[in-house]
């Protein structure tokens, strides 16, 4: 049953990806990207990564879709046709994709308990978490306690991103241009008076 659901979801994921690549209408592409995120969230639930699935659904499908639509509001909604046929990018993409697939061959089989990632610090976390902090959700305990520095960094990244977008979209741009134009208008009027 799980195999069936997995296959269906992955097939849909591939179909949506091709759809995004072929879509010229940016509105359609954004909606497809939202659908992609929801499919990805479903897959992550199947992988028992509920925390990540929740993030994917709320950020990937929810807020990013809204932001992309807001950005679309500022531009045209039809992607322009590229002049050249993208041979080199296609080649690079195929090479990177092949390298990644080749890399997965070296991974230990899916879900094996003796994979290297399950041997390092994970057992310590899993055995100690309730004793140490009384927080049953291991993901939260790792994020906020054992890896507190990382999460502080992530929060600062979000802060920096927000400040950057605010500066780009509001700080400079129109307001300053208007001010400059206003100053120039005044200067022009002055010189006319003098003449």
């Amino acid at each position: 049953m799980e195999l069936l659901i997995n296959t269906a979801l992955l097939t849909l994921l591939a179909a949506v990806t091709i759809g995004i690549a072929r879509q010229r209408n940016l509105f359609g592409a954004i909606i497809l990207a939202g659908i992609y995120s929801f499919l990805m969230a479903s897959l992550l639930i199947l992988l028992d990564a509920v925390d990540v699935a929740m993030t994917e659904a709320s950020v990937g499908a929810g807020v990013s879709t809204v932001f992309l639509l807001a950005a679309l509001h500022l531009t045209r909604s039809l992607e322009q046709k590229s002049m050249k046929t993208p041979v080199v990018p296609l080649f690079v993409a195929l090479c990177v994709g092949a390298a990644l697939v080749w890399g997965t061959v070296g991974l230990s089989p899916f879900g094996t308990p003796d994979a290297p990632i399950h041997q390092h610090v994970a057992p310590t976390y899993l055995t100690n978490v309730v004793k140490d902090s009384g927080v049953p959700n291991v993901v939260t305990a790792i994020l906020a306690d054992y890896r507190g520095f990382d999460t502080l960094g992530e929060t600062v990244v979000i802060f920096t991103g927000g400040i950057g977008v605010m500066l780009l979209l509001r700080g400079s741009g129109r307001k300053r241009r208007e001010e400059r134009e206003g100053a120039e208008g005044k200067a022009g009027a002055k010189s006319e008076n003098e003449a």
Partner: protein, 138 residues
């Protein structure tokens, strides 16, 4: 004329549950899936939905722009401040053991405040970015 009545009433019905769910995700994050990041996005989603349906002017009445922009650094300061408090109490930065009588409760308390910091920054950043986009579009 007003054909969007279903949309308006539906939004009004959904909004309190969105806020409740955000708070649930925030404060239940220690027991179930979720945490500050997801809760912040859901809370911001509530304000953004309100702004989409009722207009940004009315959304700025519930989430004033100045408050939102004040909260963006405030969350980072709450997070880092937790670390500073642990340092003042004689431990390493972000080592929560000293925040309560027992190390275990101290850690729980530390995680609580850190998650609050994440919530504040994430929610306000999302709302601030949305406001910035909308202002630019005018």
């Amino acid at each position: 004329m007003r054909l969007d009545v279903v949309l308006r009433i539906g939004t009004k019905l959904v909004l309190p549950f969105m806020l409740l769910f955000a708070l649930y995700v925030q404060f239940h994050g220690e027991y179930g899936p979720g945490g500050g990041f997801q809760a912040g996005v859901i809370a911001a989603g509530m304000v953004i939905l309100y702004a989409l349906v009722f207009g940004v002017a009315r959304a700025k009445l519930i989430a004033p722009q100045r408050l939102v922009e004040f909260m963006v650094p405030l969350g980072v300061l709450i997070y880092a401040g937790t670390g500073v408090v642990t340092m003042l109490l004689g431990q390493n930065f972000l080592d929560y053991d000293v925040l309560d009588h027992t190390a275990r409760h101290g850690r729980e308390r530390g995680i609580f405040w850190v998650e609050i910091g994440v919530l504040v920054t994430v929610a306000s950043t999302m709302i601030a970015i949305f406001y910035a986009f909308v202002e630019r579009g005018r």
